[in-house]
């Protein structure tokens, strides 16, 4: 129902309309209750299942789409303007993500994944004239396809092991047999590789920095948030399909989470470009989400933790990318740390907004990021993963360094730039709405 709405929209090209559709979809998603799961079940033969978790994830994704569209309005005013297709591709991507969150079957997942990925490949390489954009596209496409083939191979192995690609049937197979057969383990592992690649977990993280750097800023924001949200949702769904399955992989995920957090921090610390830094910090956040995945099985609570964290992370990241989109200037000329010297003296409100986003990402109360981190740690400790919680905390200490560095540069140094920007209200408005969201989510943490 929702999806069909999107696919018709591709004819509509004006960004306002797309925003409107995002808003409509958001409202629909919000109002759609759990009773729809039955509907999906019958229509798609159990390939799609909706529940409160996917609903929340869907909300996040649609929200990301909405704000991205809003940001793009301003962004393309001061960069190479885009054609109408940009927005339709954006819708394709969003649709793919939504399908991904809903899918309960490996090949459906694969197809949704590819719908999403192909659309995003296009978005990444949209600016054909820029060589960096193309390079990003190349890297992403190559490695993405590479990872995708692992997914297919993994599906094949799981299919071979369990005789079905439906999550429900795999689950029942595992409960009657065992999750420990080589085919299942190998297959699940290959599938994980693909997921981990998409969320840029260590050691499959290397692409993310270059790709974020090369892509247009709003697209980067979209990728960093919506894509991660979709992938983590399906990841969680897949992992949660059976308790035995999840137990099998706890150790594996434990180490991946650990390395992801620390690897991400170490990469981020050395960056001098803000987008690259944010990409690396995105790796760290994936690490936190992996913590939540480790803690997923104990109770349904953890699903909402992931959803909340995704929402919290998304508003922060989207916000900062929105701000960068309009502050970056023509052709993204301002993107390194030093370009933002003294921003607070020239544009105090923007600087304050960026500071708020950074603090949210760093997990300082009363922002949404803090609450997200709080939930993650709570779930980890509830799942008896004290060590992981402590490592998570240590990692966020390390991450304070580069977040603070940007704040310090913005606030405590003398401005060298006048920060002239295109006079467009949308990206700034979007930024401030997101600031509001950061606090609103932080102060009223509705855990679904």
């Amino acid at each position: 129902m929702l999806l069909s709405a999107f696919e018709k929209v591709k004819l509509e090209n004006a960004p306002f309309v797309s925003m409107g559709f995002f808003a409509a979809a958001f409202v629909m998603q919000l109002t759609a209750g759990n009773h729809e799961s039955a509907l999906y079940g019958s229509v798609f033969n159990g390939m799609f299942v909706s529940n409160s978790f996917t609903q929340a994830a869907g909300l996040v994704i649609i929200g990301c789409g909405f704000f991205t569209a809003m940001t793009c309005l301003t962004y393309f005013k001061q960069n190479n303007p885009c054609t109408m297709e940009f927005y339709s591709v954006l819708f394709f991507a969003t649709g793919g993500m939504l399908m991904l969150t809903l899918s309960r079957e490996l090949i459906t997942s694969f197809i949704s994944l590819e719908i999403m990925s192909l659309a995003i490949y296009i978005l990444v390489g949209y600016d054909r004239k820029r060589v960096t954009s193309t390079e990003a596209l190349l890297k992403y496409l190559l490695l993405g396809a590479f990872a995708g083939s692992f997914f297919v191979m993994g599906s094949a192995l799981v299919y071979g092991g369990a005789g079905s690609t439906k999550f429900a049937e795999i689950s029942s197979f595992i409960s009657t047999h065992s999750a420990g057969t080589p085919l299942l383990i190998g297959g699940a592992f290959f599938i994980f590789v693909a997921f981990l690649f998409k969320v840029a977990a260590f050691p499959f993280h290397a692409w993310v920095i270059d790709v974020y750097d090369g892509a247009a800023t709003p697209v980067t924001g979209f990728m960093a948030t919506a894509l991660k949200a979709a992938t983590f949702t399906v990841f969680a769904n897949f992992l949660a399909l059976n308790g035995a399955m999840q137990k099998e992989w706890i150790d594996f995920l434990f180490y991946i989470a650990l390395f992801t957090m620390f690897g991400g921090n170490l990469i981020a610390i050395g960056q001098s470009n803000i987008k690259r830094m944010l990409a690396a910090s995105g790796i760290v956040h994936s690490g936190y989400l992996l913590i939540a995945l480790v803690a997923i099985s104990t109770e349904s609570f953890s699903g909402s933790v992931i959803a909340y964290y995704l929402a919290a992370y998304s508003v922060g990241t989207l916000g900062i990318f929105a701000a960068l989109s309009y502050l970056g200037g023509k052709g993204e000329s301002r993107m390194s740390f030093d370009d933002f010297k003294g921003l607070a003296k020239v544009r105090p409100y923007s600087a304050a907004a960026i500071a708020v986003f950074l603090l949210s990402m760093a997990g300082i109360p009363p922002t949404a990021g803090f609450m997200g981190k709080f939930y993650i740690i709570t779930s980890a400790i509830s799942a008896n993963q004290m060590a992981l919680a402590v490592f998570g905390v240590i990692s966020s200490i390390l991450s304070m360094w580069y977040y603070l560095r940007l704040i310090i540069i913005m606030y405590f140094q003398e401005p060298e730039d006048t920060f002239e920007i295109e006079n467009s209200i949308f990206a700034p408005a979007c930024t401030f709405i997101l600031v509001f969201c950061v606090f609103a989510l932080g102060l009223y943490p509705i855990v679904i």
Binding site: P182, F202, A206, W207, L266, I269, G270
Partner: protein, 637 residues
């Protein structure tokens, strides 16, 4: 409650109020036109005088009470109370404190009056009287405090005033340094006091931490804790009363105006340590070892200071060392459990030492702040009043009968002998001789012989009446105070000792009359010898000698100041800068430095992995994949 009187707290309050008023007056005018000196003088003297009158009232009220229940209490308010600790801002007048009270207020008033003359013309006239009043108030709190904590308020208060008054001429760095030294050394003593109080409290203080309750519970004290408490309290006394090893501040304290030296550093404050030991006699009496330590340190201090005193040239320093020396006697007295003798010496000493200092002050005043005795001489004719009063003081200090010093000092020496401390007695007698020698060295050099500085000599004259009258009153005191406690052999009956008895825990040893008389005769003989030697050497105008050998060593005070400087002060400062310069950045902060350095290095190190070649990224993936697969396959097996 017949023992409760409500005016006791007022006694210290008057000088304190005076201090406040004077201080506000001074501060509010010190950049503009000051009030007249007359006003300051009157205001400054009112407080002490009223206190003195009240002190007399207290004394007579006590006298009218039966001997075994002679005490008055005034609990002003609960000061603080936490758990078992209840500290009342209370005041206690018993025979011991009333004796102190009377003479402190008396001498204090006299010195205030004297100061009106001495300080006239000083730009900080008001400040001086404010400090002096503050001092007197604190001293009275010290004396009247009903418990150790209240006493400590006065104890630190007098320390503060001492600091302020020593560094009164604060433009001169040396004076301020002297003040610092006094305060810091006193603080070392105060540490002992505080810790002593703490131990005492946890031992027996739970049911009341004032003297009366403590005294009742003192039998609960175990000897071990008792010893600790006694020694710690004695550290406090050492600091305040300038005993080995904390005596060094007192000679330097002479940097203050002379009335200050007279009041604080001779008559009252420095004797607070003795008073404290006497106050705690109920503990010291339980721990003879502690008493012996006190006595020995006292007598050694007496000896040391007397040796130093023989070779000084500054008139005030000589007197300062004599003070240290006399304080040593007092500790010897209280150490051998002759508390009343010690306190009596405090009493007489206050008169003659204040007298000597004020006399010295007159001389200094007359000679325009000349303090070197080798620049004086022959002043007898020019300043007869000063000369005669100082001579009385000197005789009293030397312990020449029948001046007051004789009776009190002899009482101490006799107690030492009677309680079996022959060594102490022996040293004490020797010190008496030395004392006589250096005292009369001072008198002869200053007042006899030929004037050494003709010009100053010509202008010298007796001070105005406001200064000489206090001198004479004190001289009278120095002359007669001894008769108050006339021992039995002279037909007296130790009035003061009997008066003090209810406050103290002491037992009078008995020895034969012959021994007593023999000892006394020996002492007198030694004293006379001392005076005679001094007369031979100095009466006819000797010039300043070049000190060599031991004399030079003693002239430089055995280099103790230098020793302390190298052993304590410099290392202290050095430790400070070592901590700041090397320890803090390189050791304590190391965890921060190393972790941030590592983190940054790791960050830059990690950058090289982001080579930008897409196939390398694929290689990473494959490597990661293979490692994990390997681990997985192992876990499978």
């Amino acid at each position: 409650m017949e023992h409760t009187v409500s005016y006791l707290g007022l006694i210290p309050l008057f000088p304190l109020l005076g201090a406040l008023i004077l201080g506000v007056m001074h501060i509010s005018t010190c950049t503009g036109k000051p009030f007249s000196e007359k006003l300051y003088g009157v205001l400054g003297c009112i407080g002490p005088v009223i206190s003195f009158i009240y002190a007399l009232i207290v004394y007579f009220q006590l006298k009218g009470m039966p001997a075994d229940s002679r005490f008055l209490i005034h609990d002003a308010f609960t000061w603080f109370s936490v758990g078992d600790l209840h500290i009342t801002m209370g005041f206690l007048a018993d025979p011991l404190s009333s004796l102190m009270l009377v003479f402190v207020t008396f001498i204090g008033s006299l010195i205030h009056i004297y100061s009106v003359g001495y300080m006239s013309g000083d730009e900080n006239f008001g400040k001086f009287f404010s400090y002096m009043n503050l001092f007197l108030g604190s001293m009275l709190i010290l004396v009247l405090g009903s418990g150790p904590v209240v006493m400590f308020v006065g104890w630190e208060g007098v320390g503060l005033c001492s600091y302020l008054l020593i560094s009164f001429y604060c433009k001169d760095t040396d004076n301020v340094l002297a003040g610092n030294k006094a305060f810091i050394v006193n603080r070392i003593g105060d540490l002992g006091f505080v810790l002593g109080m703490a131990f005492l409290f946890w031992a027996i203080g739970a049911s009341g931490f004032d003297y009366l309750s403590l005294r009742e519970n003192s039998h609960l004290l175990t000897p071990g804790i008792g010893l600790v408490v006694c020694l710690l309290l004695f550290v406090g006394a050492c600091g305040k009363s300038a005993q080995i090893p904390l005596y060094v501040w007192l000679p330097d304290a002479m940097a203050g105006p002379t009335p200050v030296s007279a009041l604080i550093h001779a008559a009252t404050m420095v004797t607070a340590g003795v008073y404290m030991v006497a106050r705690f006699s109920f503990i010291y009496a339980h721990v003879p070892v502690a008493g012996a330590v006190v006595a020995w340190i006292g007598i050694l201090t007496a000896l040391l200071a007397a040796i130093f005193g023989m070779f000084q040239h500054d008139i005030k320093k000589i007197l300062a060392y004599s003070t240290v020396s006399q304080l040593g006697y007092m500790f010897a007295g209280v150490g051998v459990a002759a508390y009343s003798a010690g306190i009596f010496h405090v009493f007489t000493h206050a008169f003659f030492k204040a007298l000597l200092f004020l006399g010295a002050g007159s001389v200094i005043y007359a000679l325009h702040h000349q303090q070197n005795i080798w620049k004086m001489g022959g002043l007898k004719e020019k300043m007869p009043k000063t000369y005669w009063s100082m001579l009385i003081g000197a005789l009293a200090l030397a312990g020449f009968p029948p001046f007051s010093g004789f009776f009190s000092k002899d009482e101490i020496l006799f107690s030492a002998l009677a309680s079996g401390h022959t060594g102490i007695w022996f040293i004490g007698v020797a010190v008496a001789g030395i004392t006589a020698y250096y005292t009369f060295r001072l008198i002869f050099v200053v007042f006899h012989g030929q004037p050494r500085d003709k010009k100053a000599f010509d202008h010298a004259e007796d001070a105005p009446a406001v200064m000489t009258i206090p001198l004479m009153v004190l001289a009278f005191g120095a002359l007669c105070a001894g008769f108050l406690n006339l021992p039995g052999i002279f037909g007296g009956n130790l009035n003061v000792s009997h008066w003090l008895a209810p406050s103290l825990v002491e037992h009078h040893p008995h020895t034969s009359l012959t021994v007593e008389l023999l000892a006394m005769a020996l002492t007198i003989a030694i004293i006379v010898t001392g005076i005679v030697i001094a007369y031979k050497k100095f009466a006819s105008g000797a010039e300043e000698p070049e000190y060599t050998g031991f004399a030079k060593f003693a002239y430089n005070k055995f280099y103790v100041d230098e020793l302390y400087n190298t052993v304590f002060v410099q290392p202290y400062k050095a430790i400070g800068s070592v901590i700041w310069k090397s320890l803090e950045p390189n050791v304590t902060d190391i965890h921060v430095k190393v972790s941030s350095w590592l983190y940054r290095k790791a960050g830059t190190g990690f950058k090289i992995f982001q080579v930008g070649y897409v196939r390398v990224y694929a290689v990473y993936m494959v490597i990661g994949l293979s490692i994990i697969s390997l681990l997985l396959s192992q876990s499978l097996n």
